[in-house]
Amino acid sequence: MKQLSLDVNIAGIKMKNPVMTASGTFGYGLEYSQLIDIENFGAIVTKTVTLEPRIGNPQPRIVETASGMLNSIGLQNPGAKIFIKEKLPKLKEYEVPIIANISGRNETDFVKLAGLLKDIGLSGLELNISCPNVEHSGLFAQNADTTYKLVNKVRKVTGLPLIVKLTPNVTDVTLIAGAAEDGGADAISLINTLIGMSIDIQTKKPKLANVVGGLSGPAVKPVALRMVYEASKKVSIPVIGMGGIVTSDDAIEFLLAGASAVALGTVNFVNPNTCCEIIDGIKIYMRDNKFNKISDITGRVK
């Protein structure tokens, strides 16, 4: 039998398997290192880092929903300086590519951040232009023009592989995917969370202090899969698929739909061992279906 290879190369980021972490659900990797071998992941995407520290949104920040959850963490993070000085060095002790997810209020923030994060051992950058939990109305990723311009500016200041993370809260995700590609993205990732809401009927207040939040988990998988399918037909750069993945079957669906790699988000909270289970499942699937490498699966949906 031929040797199975789970390696993937996403925009120059070499991963030993196509299973990554989804930003914001794995902290800076360190918390989970007490429970699992974080080197099992193909790559680790950090919680969003911003230029300055952010205290995030008030409580409550989390609501459970049917087969999903709403969060409005609001990008709480210690800021770029502490990330570079305290978090990254510890994370770099592990043999796993590290991708920093970054966000900002405007183009300048992103450009500065991308500048700061050069030459410090990162394997790539993911631009979070799609977080629903910050003040400004309208996300970058809800408009093709702003997406194009932003990606283009960041592209100019970094040689790192650039992943652009898209929001599902749009009429046509292919337009934004195309704009990101044109702007110089090396890959796109999707979906970020769907904007949702929940109300406590007794207090008559929204259950999240921030009123709205981001919906994630198995509930959103059909939407995520459809968008990965649409976007990957549109662009020729690799697509990282995420949104509701729990089982290896889910992960394989995303690969078939057109993803070159997948990311695990909410499922980390439910079953932190999922990465290994998915890798095992993908291996069995490849054997059974005579696929030798991940790219044999990517986009194979008929």
Binding site: T25, E31, Q59, R61, I62, S67, G217, T266, V270
Partner: protein, 263 residues
């Protein structure tokens, strides 16, 4: 690894009072690491609904046998209560920091444990550890009514001094556990350390009380959790110098550290 995610067979899931159950299971790994005040993160359903785990304190550890004590308040705990002996339980833990009771000796402090309602759950484990070293462990237990006063007999068996209060006076003093605590405190007697767990209003009252006497106190807090491990920032509370995560930096906090107005 210091934290484990395991599936174990339930040895017993016993109803111990109206709406309260105790699950017993064996896990050598968790038992070895567990400290009083820590909790387990439990998957209550095999399906995606409800999706998230539920945090439940470690109630007791004896040899490799772990007990949790929980009250049915919603869907997760409801599903948990339906599990039978032989069914499997999916737990992650031990999580959180636990009570700091090591300093008692050096500081010559006597421990007072204050539990309101199901808040007694983590305190029993603490009491077990304390009686190994101290003879003067006091436990104050409050509830709405007699049938919701839990653990009295087994705490007495450990050798603890146990005082009880109920809101309806059906057993113990007529009042709250804070009334009981008041009686223990006096300007002369500040060589105490309080460990409290219970509803927020109770903890707030305790805060006011101990700030008068300046008694060292630790409280166990609750917040809705997603990861339970410190990664998602879902469970933060405001503390004097910023935000802390209940799951990782807590659930036990020094009473002075907490911004009580924000809870």
């Amino acid at each position: 690894m210091k934290i484990f995610s395991v599936k174990k067979e339930i040895i017993e899931n016993k109803k111990i009072s109206a709406g309260c159950y105790r699950i017993t299971f064996e896990s050598r790994k968790i038992a070895c690491m567990a400290k009083p005040g820590q909790f387990l993160h439990i998957k209550c359903s095999d399906t995606y609904d409800p999706l998230l785990r539920r945090p439940i304190s470690i109630h007791s550890v004896e040899n490799n046998v772990i007990e949790i004590l929980y009250k049915v308040v919603g869907r997760g705990t409801g599903l948990l209560s339906e599990k039978s002996c032989g069914d499997s339980i999916d737990v992650m833990g031990p999580l959180g920091n636990g009570f700091d009771y090591q300093s008692l000796v050096t500081c010559h402090l006597s421990p007072i444990l204050v539990g309101g309602g199901i808040g007694i759950a983590p305190l029993y484990f603490l009491a077990r550890k304390l009686v190994e070293k101290y003879s003067n462990v006091t436990v104050l237990i409050g509830a709405d009514a007699k049938h919701n006063i839990l653990c009295v007999d087994k705490l007495k068996k450990l050798g603890c001094r146990v005082k009880v209060s109920t809101n309806d006076g059906s057993t113990g003093i007529n009042g709250t556990v804070v009334n009981l605590l008041k009686k223990e405190l006096s300007p002369e007697n500040v060589k105490l350390k309080i460990f409290a767990c219970g509803p927020i209003p109770m903890l707030k009252q305790i805060n006011r009380l101990v700030s008068v006497y300046n008694v060292s106190s630790q409280v166990s807090l609750e917040k809705r959790m997603a990861c339970g491990i410190g990664a998602c920032m879902g469970c933060i509370i405001k503390v004097k110098n910023g935000y802390k995560r209940v799951c990782k930096d807590g659930p036990v906090f020094d009473i002075k550290e907490v911004i009580w107005e924000d809870l």
